[in-house]
């Protein structure tokens, strides 16, 4: 089977599983427990987060530790836009408001991605990782000082100063209160599909190959005329915009939301999804984001040890996939299975021969 066919099958399976899962959730919706139902939209958000972070980590090969920052930008811009449309323009249509809010979240997070990407992508490796972490924390710190209110059709912004006319939409460290919950599971499903189309089609295109080239060998990529910063930027900004979409949906799923919700820990959480699903593996990200979001809900005792287990899994995953000894072990194992299969087939042959004679 050639690589092109393999990619096609992989993409079809990925889309198939997502669509099937969506249908099953709809069919068995009434059988689900309340807490599981409540998890459906967050799961969609985390899947989008994981797939989009995988674009940066797996495809462009840079470790971003500030992904939750982009999510929070998306969340709060989505909340502000939705509140503003409702208060200032009396837009009652929830679906339309949700679409506009998500689009706004994507655009604003994308712009933030550009602004942050310009300095960040000049760095490499560990420095890049630590600076994305720093930006994530700066975003949270700054959001703690931002006040936004809607006074009729006009939007007022305050920094550190909470005295604004009209209805407060964003209240500094107290975040957003009294948000109209307009997020739906169908919207979450559509977001996942959009994300998959963007990410998978991007990977299998000229742009995606250029991004992967910068990951595999920066200097070789430059020597064939690929602008490394430009393509790292495309991956980074696309990922930020997708995280912004997920954030907007997430924000509009709760009646209150504080900036402290998007601490550095959340970025690590998404990183865990990506690593455990297999770096660069989109379907893996989807599955691990789903399983690791549901599991703590299902098993209370698990949730106490959740981060501990994640930490151990992170380390084990890295040790198993990156050390020469482990690699040799897997190759041996593969060989062992192959030998076993061979022996079986030989035995089967002999068996056949035996009965015939």
């Amino acid at each position: 089977m050639n690589s092109k066919k393999r990619k096609l099958i992989y993409n079809a399976v990925t889309f198939g599983i997502v669509i099937l899962a969506f249908l099953l959730c709809n069919i068995f919706y009434s059988d689900m427990s309340r807490s599981l139902r409540g998890q459906l939209i967050p799961i969609c958000c985390w899947i989008v987060m994981a797939v989009s972070l995988n674009l940066v980590i797996g495809i462009s090969g840079e470790l971003s530790l500030g992904h939750a920052g982009f999510m929070s930008i998306g969340a709060f811009s989505g909340i502000v836009v939705s509140g503003w449309l409702l208060n200032g323009f009396q837009m009652e249509n929830e679906i339309l408001r949700l679409i506009i809010a998500i689009a706004a979240g994507a655009v604003i997070a994308g712009i933030a991605g550009v602004l942050i990407g310009i300095p960040v992508l000049r760095l490499r490796g560990d420095y890049l990782a630590i600076v994305t972490l720093a930006f994530g924390e700066i975003i949270r710190n700054v959001l703690n000082c931002v006040y936004v209110s809607a006074d009729g059709a006009s939007l007022n912004f305050g920094f550190i100063d909470p005295n604004l006319p009209g209805t407060l939409l964003l209240n500094g460290p107290n975040g957003a209160v009294g948000v109209k919950k307009i997020a739906t599971f169908t919207a979450g499903f559509i977001l996942i599909i959009i994300t998959l189309i963007v990410v998978l089609n991007l990977i299998n295109s000229r742009t995606g190959r250029a991004i992967m080239a910068t990951r595999d060998n920066r200097i070789a990529a430059e020597s064939v005329g690929i602008n490394v910063t430009k393509y790292k930027m495309i991956a980074f900004v696309t990922s930020a915009a997708l995280a912004g979409m997920a954030g907007a949906l997430y924000g509009l799923n709760y009646s209150t939301l504080v900036p402290a919700k998007f601490k550095f820990d959340q970025s690590i959480n998404v990183l865990v999804f990506v690593v455990l699903g297999g770096i660069g593996n989109t379907l893996g990200s989807i599955i691990s984001a789903t399983v690791l979001t549901i599991l703590p809900e299902l098993l209370r005792s698990f949730s106490n040890y959740r981060m501990l287990i994640y930490a151990v899994l992170l380390i084990l995953m890295m040790l198993l996939t990156n050390t020469p000894a482990a690699k040799a072990f897997f190759i041996n194992l593969q060989g062992h299975w192959k030998k076993k299969a061979l022996r079986k087939s030989i035995e089967a042959e002999q068996g056949k021969g035996g009965t015939q004679s």
Partner: protein, 288 residues
């Protein structure tokens, strides 16, 4: 030492042009592909390359030789703008590359291979070549995401062109293999194909025959000449295999301690006492 001078193909003009070229009476009809003047670079006080002058005409095969540490790869890095020279100028196709980066130099028509192979080893052989075609067969990101007609059209073009380029070395059957899993020689050849995909006017080969057996080297020599004739490009190569250098290079430039110590044809170089001294040490010492 076996010396084998290949006959040039017929249709190239032989116009004498006054230049720094090693063999002046060649086809520098229009502009030289590469023109270096007084090129030099210092690394924190240490002069790695000094007063490097070289001109390469269209469809010339030139060799850059010298003992280890002479600064040959540094010259390549200066030509491809990995390093910005401290002194002097590099002109590619008549355009001064001052202040340019690697990407801009590549777009001007300079392509290279690396001494320690630098492939996109996790990707397929075909994808490696397609990445080389990045600036040749283009479509924008959105046609890629939305799968617009231009995506399908250009992807098909890229696929066909990639196979065509791979067939130079008879590698079209390996298109689906992972680049990193290829045998060493095939990896070196793939690097050349990838460089050719960028449609260069000057191809820099950094030790293309390293690790190859005599048979493979002979094949490589034939292929370099074939490439030059087919694509009408100039080639500058670094090589320690003297059979290859003396066999196909029309002009040879010898570098030692960052300075050019000799220039000329294979015969000139082989009989040049300065070159012999650089490689073997002084005659007296050798005898003693």
């Amino acid at each position: 030492m076996t010396v084998r001078i290949q006959k040039r193909n017929q249709d190239t003009k032989m116009v004498p042009v006054p230049s720094e070229s090693i063999i002046p009476e060649r086809d520098l009809g229009k502009l030289p592909v590469l023109e270096c003047k007084h090129l030099g670079i210092d690394f924190g006080g240490l002069t790695a390359v000094e007063d490097f002058n070289l001109t390469i005409g269209k469809t010339e095969i030139a060799g850059l030789i010298g003992p280890n540490g002479a600064g040959k790869t540094t010259v390549f890095n200066l030509l491809t703008k990995v390093y910005e020279p401290t002194r002097g100028t590099v002109m590619i196709n008549g355009i001064d590359t001052h202040g340019m980066d690697i990407v801009q130099a590549s777009k001007l028509g300079i392509a290279r291979t690396f001494q320690n192979i630098r492939l996109f080893s996790k990707m397929s052989v075909e994808d490696n070549v397609r990445i080389g075609l990045h600036n040749q067969i283009k479509y924008n990101m959105f046609s890629g995401i939305l799968r617009l007609p231009s995506y399908w059209k250009r992807e098909k073009q890229q696929h066909e062109k990639a196979l065509e380029l791979l067939s130079i070395f008879g590698m079209q059957d390996m298109a689906d293999m992972q680049a990193g899993s290829l045998p060493y020689g095939a990896q070196r050849r793939l690097e050349i194909v990838r460089a050719l995909a960028t449609n260069p006017s000057l191809l820099l080969l950094d030790e293309p025959a390293a690790g190859m057996n005599p048979h493979e080297t002979q094949e490589l020599m034939d292929n370099i000449i074939k490439i030059r004739d087919q694509f009408q490009i100039a080639v500058l190569l670094i090589e320690h295999d003297m059979n290859l250098v003396m066999g196909i290079c029309e002009g040879i430039c010898v570098l030692n301690y960052g300075k050019i110590i000799a220039k000329g044809t294979a015969e000139d170089i082989q009989s040049n006492p300065v070159v012999i001294e650089a490689y073997l040490g002084k005659q007296k010492e050798a005898q003693a």
